[in-house]
């Protein structure tokens, strides 16, 4: 069987990025916040299911705004092998959410 490595560190980075995005959008109470929180929930679940044995860090995390966090998270998710769709539940939904969020935030110029 083809071995496909689960990107544990990347999952951890997505978790951190979406955690920050959720915190920054905590008081938005709109559909954008709903999408961010849904994505965060998926990432949190993946991170819990695939914990990393070493601490994860995202350089410059504290300087990222919401669009920056979403962009970085989308790039991370898009680096995951498509054959992992069965191993990472919600991977497809996560990518779709992040893609939509990126478009929405770009169109609104929201930070």
């Amino acid at each position: 069987m083809t071995e496909v490595r689960i990107p544990i560190e990347s999952i951890g980075r997505v978790d951190l990025l979406l955690g920050r995005a959720t915190a920054l959008s905590a008081v938005w109470f709109d559909e954008t916040a709903a999408a961010i929180q849904e994505a965060m929930g998926l990432a949190l679940y993946l991170a819990a299911a695939h914990p990393c044995s070493s601490p994860i860090a995202v350089p410059g995390l504290e300087g990222l705004d919401v669009p920056g966090c979403v962009d970085a998270a989308l790039r991370e998710v898009q680096s995951w092998d498509l054959l992992l769709a069965g191993d990472l539940p919600g991977m497809g939904r996560l990518e779709v959410l992040l893609s939509d969020l990126r478009r929405t935030l770009a169109s609104r110029g929201r930070g």
Binding site: A26, L82, L83, A85, E95, V96
Partner: protein, 619 residues
């Protein structure tokens, strides 16, 4: 490999702003679907229910819609070409990998279908494409039939309960705050929709929204101050994250059947908005705790009056709840009342009315049941969800406010069953109204203290009667505290310039007396049986000779055991003594917290004829 090229093409759709554009995205999409179907057929038999087959049907429906203008969008040719590469490489794929290939294919189809659906402006075409997307979503994410908010909240509560052993780790704090933000936002949305629909009173709605926003802001502050755990999660923390994450997925996942909004809002309110107080304690943030208390009180208001949320508006204005005054304009945290205080202070509206007719004779089983409900209510009023007492184990903390209400109702019913004796005893007194009031309080105290495990439950009326008798013969004040027969007249303390205390005890004094009485009862319970039995019989007014005859002891032995019992009570209650208490000295066996009560009582009686020495039952 083919899938890597597909991956690159999908990413290009998001990032390549200068990439190729198609004048008709639906035509591109049709070619992509044809390739998807070809891949799927290569991987095995395709049933009509297969999501790719459903997608193909939906696409056919979308392209069949008449008079649809072509939509310009990013070209899907690259995706179609990459999928062609996957198709050519499938012959080399082992059979055992076919399932993985099918899942990858479905996942790709889902991404592209969603993109096309979002790009197309025509609602009819979009409806067809959404049908195909939903079939793919269902196959990939398998939305559970258990998509109710109540189930999600139950899972969330269960997960919070499992957190307790590791409650103060950074991972738990972060996960709980992140998850709770999702719950708050969902609640906010549902409240706003209920308000628009007029199914919830405006002021109540505003208070809820304010509370939700305050708590969300507090969580935001917590998360920004503590961005990440900075260390690997322990297995216990991972397990907690999984459970919390699972509960959140249940709340946010697209349900197969959407339950009505008021049902979802009801579930969220009944859960105390996702156990807001518990989460606030986990985050250990004072602002969050203050905000959570406010939300909890509003949720309790709803529990007491579920008719606040109606299925069709407008909500009855007559049931407008009292507005909870929030701390502050300054945003400073209030001295945070605990969850116990919130439950104990839950606004009641009207006091509970008896559910039985006055004077109803209750059998032993009924009295036992009422006492059980009373005890549950008392426990629930003071319990900590983080460490529930044995009596409340297994009972969802969201039900505790209802237990408090039920406990109060049980006490009211106990009192109602014996209230005629109060009227009977009071009718011949010099001041029936005052006497009745005092006796009512004595019976109320008796209803709180009667223990069906220590005596025959059917003897509850006799216990209440004895309480009234005891107070009459022993000159017990209306807290049930006996005034001892003093060897010397009571010391009258002048108040100088201060206003005399009212003869009506203030609520704080009543509470103090009640706690003092509870302390006394606990001390009596702790006595060994050989000391407790004579003491209890003496408290009922029996003579030492009668007690001795009953217990098979001499009168001198009874007197000695009574003295020993009083000594032990004094020692047991010594920690309650206030070191700087300046109240007059009374009989030493009584706990000094009762002295102030006694002093007030004696002052009130100073203007009335005193009890003469020797009157009443002899000892």
């Amino acid at each position: 490999m083919g899938w890597e090229e597909v991956r690159r093409e999908l990413a290009r759709l998001d990032w390549d702003v200068a990439g190729p554009v198609t004048p008709d995205v639906l035509a591109d999409w049709t070619r992509v679907v044809a390739t998807l179907v070809a891949i799927r057929r290569t991987l095995g038999p395709v049933s009509a229910q297969d999501p790719i087959a459903v997608l193909a049907t939906a696409t056919k429906g979308a392209t069949g819609v008449r008079e649809v203008a072509p939509t310009t969008s990013a070209s899907l040719d690259g995706v179609a070409t990459a999928l062609g590469g996957v198709l050519r490489g499938l012959e080399a794929v082992p059979v055992v990998e076919r399932d993985r290939q099918v899942t990858a294919l479905t996942s790709v189809a889902y991404r592209v279908a969603h993109r096309v659906q979002v790009a197309v402006p025509d609602a009819r075409v979009r409806a067809w494409l959404q049908a195909g997307e939903m079939a793919l979503d269902g196959a990939l994410h398998a939305p559970s039939g258990r998509s109710s908010a109540a189930a999600a909240m139950a899972g969330w509560t269960d997960a919070l309960a499992s957190v307790q052993p590791i409650a103060h780790t950074a991972t738990v704090r972060r996960t709980a705050a992140l998850g709770h933000l999702t719950i708050l936002r969902t609640t906010h949305q549902l409240i706003a929709e209920a308000r628009r629909a007029g199914t919830i009173p405006g002021p109540f709605c505003d208070d809820l929204l304010t509370g939700v926003r305050r708590l969300a802001a507090a969580h935001q502050d917590t998360l920004l101050r503590h961005p990440g755990p900075g260390q690997t999660a322990s297995p216990a923390e991972q397990a907690v994250m999984l459970r919390l994450g699972d509960a959140l997925r249940q709340l946010t996942a697209s349900p197969v059947r959407q339950e009505p909004n008021q049902v979802r809002l009801d579930a969220l309110l009944r859960s105390g908005v996702g156990q807001a107080v518990v989460v606030a304690h986990l985050t250990a943030d004072a602002h969050a705790q203050a905000a959570a208390q406010g939300l909890q009180q509003l949720a309790l208001q709803y529990l007491a009056r579920p008719q606040l949320l109606t299925t069709e508006g407008p909500a009855a204005e007559a049931v407008q709840p009292r507005t909870i005054e929030s701390a502050s304009a300054t945003g400073e945290p209030e001295p945070a009342p605990t969850g116990r205080a919130a439950r104990s202070a839950a606004p009641q509206g009207a006091a509970p009315r008896p559910t039985i007719d006055p004077g109803t004779v209750l059998d032993g089983a009924a009295v036992t049941a009422l006492c059980r409900r009373r005890d549950l209510g008392v426990a629930a009023a003071a319990a900590d969800p983080a460490d529930p007492p044995a009596l409340l184990r297994g009972i969802d903390p969201s039900r505790w406010p209802a237990l408090v209400e039920d406990g109060r109702q049980a006490v009211v019913d106990l009192v109602a069953s014996v209230i005629p004796m109060v009227h009977h005893r009071a009718r011949h007194s010099r001041n029936p109204d005052d006497t009745r009031g005092e006796m009512f309080l004595q019976v109320l105290n008796a209803a709180h203290t009667f223990n069906p495990e220590r005596t025959d439950p059917g003897l509850w009326p006799r216990y209440a009667w004895k309480t009234l008798e005891h107070s009459r013969w022993r000159g017990v004040d209306h807290a049930g505290v006996p005034r001892p027969r003093l060897q010397s007249p009571p010391t009258i303390v002048t108040l100088g310039e201060r206003d005399p205390a009212s003869t009506n005890p203030d609520p704080a004094a009543i509470v103090e007396r009640r706690h003092s009485l509870r302390a006394l009862h606990d001390a009596v319970d702790d006595l060994p049986p050989k000391l407790r039995q004579p003491l209890l019989q003496a408290a009922e007014g029996r003579s030492t000779a009668d007690i001795g005859a009953d217990l098979g002891l001499s009168a001198s032995t009874v007197r000695r055991r009574l003295a020993d019992a009083r000594d032990q009570l004094r020692d047991h209650l010594a920690p309650l003594l206030a070191p700087d208490d300046a109240a007059p000295r009374y009989e030493s066996v009584r706990p000094r917290p009762l002295d102030r009560s006694q002093h007030l009582n004696d002052k009130a009686l100073a203007a009335q004829p005193r009890h003469e020495q020797g009157r009443g039952l002899t000892r």
